[in-house]
């Protein structure tokens, strides 16, 4: 997306991309403030806000007590009174402690006030498994919020999307939850050149076809985009061509792109990390079964976490989470149906 006239930029990782989004938007919008645990002096548990306090000062960057409810609630008051707020959850898992303030106070504010008040709040934090983080440092709990009207939800899988979606989130008048994939933060093989300023924007609500194919559509987001791409390689060696769609935004969901793909492939596999029951994979599957029934030549299938927490040690973690193998195997079943 970088304009041709701009000097070539070095490749950056996912974490740096998030950082750029935050610094650019803090620079651009003096009303934007940040709240979270250890985001100032420390620069965030993962360093995403490293340097933010130095640059923007104590009136823009708040090191908050361990009070997730007060963090979200105060942010809500700030938004009510003209500010925009970036809330960092140190791990997305801790969001359960501020749950009421998100789903009941913040998400509904616009609705309750018949549009008088909007809540330009971004709630972001490191999410996802595959890192041995165990039950409370591995969660993908986006489905709780997808079932709570009034929240937008995004989950980028690349540096460019991380920057672009986060920038869009900051400019959105609604509360937007940003699920950052902490296992991608510093992954070297996905580093890429990323544009600066407005050119970097990625709109919320647009999926991206990561790989084209004709035989099966694999719909996913976050960490599993890479598992899906690897599975597509496996499928290719079995003679099937898989299309991989990275939805990037969960709410709102770009159904058109998925349907377009299905119109070609007529086979659907949906993958996500969350527990199976009432996870977002099920929602995608349900919508397509409902609205694109005639496009389906095989049962739509899900690859998800088992309905378990995420256990700690590697063999257990691997057993419960989606993997390249599980996706390959499921997609093959779809193709051969």
């Amino acid at each position: 997306m970088a304009k041709t006239e701009a000097p070539a930029r070095t490749k950056i990782n996912y974490l740096t991309a998030l950082k750029e989004a935050i610094f650019e938007e803090f620079e651009r919008d003096a009303d934007l403030v940040g709240m979270g645990e250890d985001i100032g002096l420390l620069g965030g548990a993962f360093g995403v806000t490293d340097g933010l306090l130095d640059k923007f000062g104590r009136d823009r960057v708040f090191d908050m007590p361990i009070s997730e409810a007060a963090i979200v609630g105060t942010a809500c008051g700030l938004c009510l009174n003209g500010k925009k707020v970036m809330v960092e959850m140190q791990f997305i898992d801790f969001i359960s402690c501020g749950f009421d303030q998100i789903v009941n106070m913040t998400a509904t504010y616009h609705y309750r006030t018949a549009g008088e008040v909007s809540m330009p709040m971004v709630i972001r934090g490191p999410a996802g498994g595959y890192g041995g983080g165990a039950l409370y440092h591995s969660q993908m709990n986006e489905a709780w919020f997808a079932n709570s009207p009034g929240l937008k939800i995004v989950c980028p899988s690349t540096p460019a999307d991380a920057k672009g979606l986060l920038k869009s989130a900051f400019r959105d008048p609604n509360p937007v939850m940003v699920y950052e994939m902490k296992e991608l933060y510093r992954r070297r093989d996905i580093e890429e050149e990323v544009a600066v300023g407005d050119d970097a924007i990625v709109p919320i609500g647009k999926a991206r076809v990561r790989r084209e194919g004709d035989d099966v559509t694999i719909v996913t987001y976050g960490n599993n985009v890479y598992h899906a791409l690897a599975a597509a390689d496996n499928l290719a060696s079995e003679g099937f061509s898989a299309e991989v769609v990275d939805i990037r935004s969960l709410v709102p969901l770009d159904e058109a792109t998925i349907k377009e793909s299905l119109a070609k492939t007529n086979r659907l596999v949906v993958v996500n990390e969350a527990p199976r029951t009432c996870g977002f994979a099920g929602e995608i599957l349900a919508r397509l079964a409902e609205e694109a029934f005639e496009l389906l030549d095989a049962p739509p299938m899900r690859v998800t976490r088992l309905d378990t927490p995420v256990p700690w040690v590697k063999p257990l973690e691997t057993f419960v989470l989606p993997s390249v193998d599980k996706i390959t195997e499921t997609a093959l079943r779809a193709c051969r149906y």
């Binding site: 009136d59 609630g73 008051g77 616009h110 006030t113 018949a114 008048p173």
Partner: protein
């Protein structure tokens, strides 16, 4: 910081802010007590007549807390009333004039439209009764989650401070809601940042059907304050002047940059938790406790003081005898005509408004545009 009995406490204020009030202020305060009472009584009657839906959480007998705490605020100050504070919505910034359209409070019309579930309410009757508010009027919209509104109140004054504006937020809470985790989180945060947040505890000794001793273990809730490094004041919640004094002390403390306070106002709930609970409340609350609790009617207390100060003759005091009467016993004649007239304006407006059209149910989930 004082944590003694309310009776002692009121004498301790070195220079009572209320000492500066003149006879006109006293009369205005009394009138506001009448208005708060009338609003409540009228809703009870309207509800009994079947004209209202939803639960009525009566503020009867607790009016001095609302009136006294609002009286000293600046127009741009913020408040966050909850279920038992309905009159606060339209009485905020009454000093700018009950009918002043520029006033930073909601109008009686808006509040009545809300109660009646009509479009003329700012939230277009999407949520019920006390779950209103108005950014324009500097009133935070609560959810049902009681103390869950305090962090937002902290947030609005933090926003003002960041802009260099020196506002104060008053949050209202029943003593029962102090047990909520979010109460603690918000007060703690406000104390750390010395935010201008005054938390009023309307201690009516009952949280629904649960008595105070099962909610917390100190007799005086205000003692909590010291642990946060903030003042904890106690007011006689039946005495509008004492409420005014203590709240003003806390407000000045806040406005001068010294941070939050807790003001515990001791009062008593006249009826059931909500109107659905009146019969049961008569069972779970000991009869003499209720009789005792109701004894000091804030209107009577104020009249007594005015008579003592010569601000009112005994004959004048006897004129509108709303005090010490239940909602069923009182008539419009027990209230000053301007009070009844004001409320009538609200009711007339409300009943003339339509219900919102059905399709509005699907609107305003998300805000549009950047």
């Amino acid at each position: 910081m004082r944590t003694g009995k309310p009776e002692d406490a009121s004498d301790n204020v070195p220079q009572r802010p209320s000492a500066k009030l003149g006879v006109q202020d006293y009369k205005e305060l009394l009138n506001q007590l009448y208005l708060a009472r009338y609003f409540d009584v009228r809703l009870i009657k309207e509800k009994k007549r079947g004209r209202l839906k939803g639960t009525l959480y009566s503020s009867h007998n607790q009016e001095a807390v609302i009136v006294g705490s609002l009286f000293g605020l600046q127009p741009t100050d913020w408040i966050s009333p909850i279920h038992r504070d309905m009159p606060a919505f339209f009485m905020k910034d009454f000093r700018s004039g009950w009918r002043n359209p520029e006033r930073l409070g909601m109008s009686i019309q808006e509040v009545c439209a809300q109660v009646w579930g009509r479009t003329g309410s700012p939230g277009r009757a999407r949520d019920n009764w006390s779950h209103i508010g108005s950014r324009r009027a500097h009133i935070v919209h609560s959810t049902s989650m009681l103390a869950g509104t305090i962090p937002a109140a902290a947030g609005v004054v933090l926003a003002d401070r960041l802009r260099g504006e020196n506002t104060v937020a008053l949050t209202y809470n029943g003593e029962g809601s102090t047990a909520q985790g979010v109460f603690h989180e918000a007060i703690n945060f406000a104390a750390v940042h010395k935010l201008p947040l005054v938390t009023i505890i309307e201690n009516n000794h009952w949280a629904y059907g649960t008595p105070t001793e099962l909610e917390y273990s100190q007799r005086d809730f205000a003692r909590r304050a010291d642990g946060y490094g903030i003042p904890g004041l106690i007011a006689d919640g039946q005495d509008v002047l004492d409420v005014y004094d203590k709240v003003m002390e806390a407000v000045e403390h806040a406005r001068s940059g010294q941070g939050p306070s807790i003001v515990e106002c001791k009062t008593f709930r006249a009826y059931g938790h909500g109107d659905h609970d009146d019969d049961r409340a008569a069972k779970y609350r000991p009869k003499d406790e209720v009789e005792d609790g109701r004894k000091r009617d804030p209107i009577a207390v104020m009249k007594e003081q005015m008579v003592k100060l010569g601000y009112m003759t005994k004959a004048e005091a006897a004129m509108f005898a709303a005090e010490n009467k239940g909602a069923g016993e009182v008539t419009d004649a027990d209230f000053p005509p301007e009070v009844v007239a004001y409320m009538n304006e609200g009711v007339e407006f409300a009943v003339a408004q339509p219900e919102p059209p059905a399709e509005e149910g699907g609107m305003w989930v998300f805000a549009e545009g950047e």
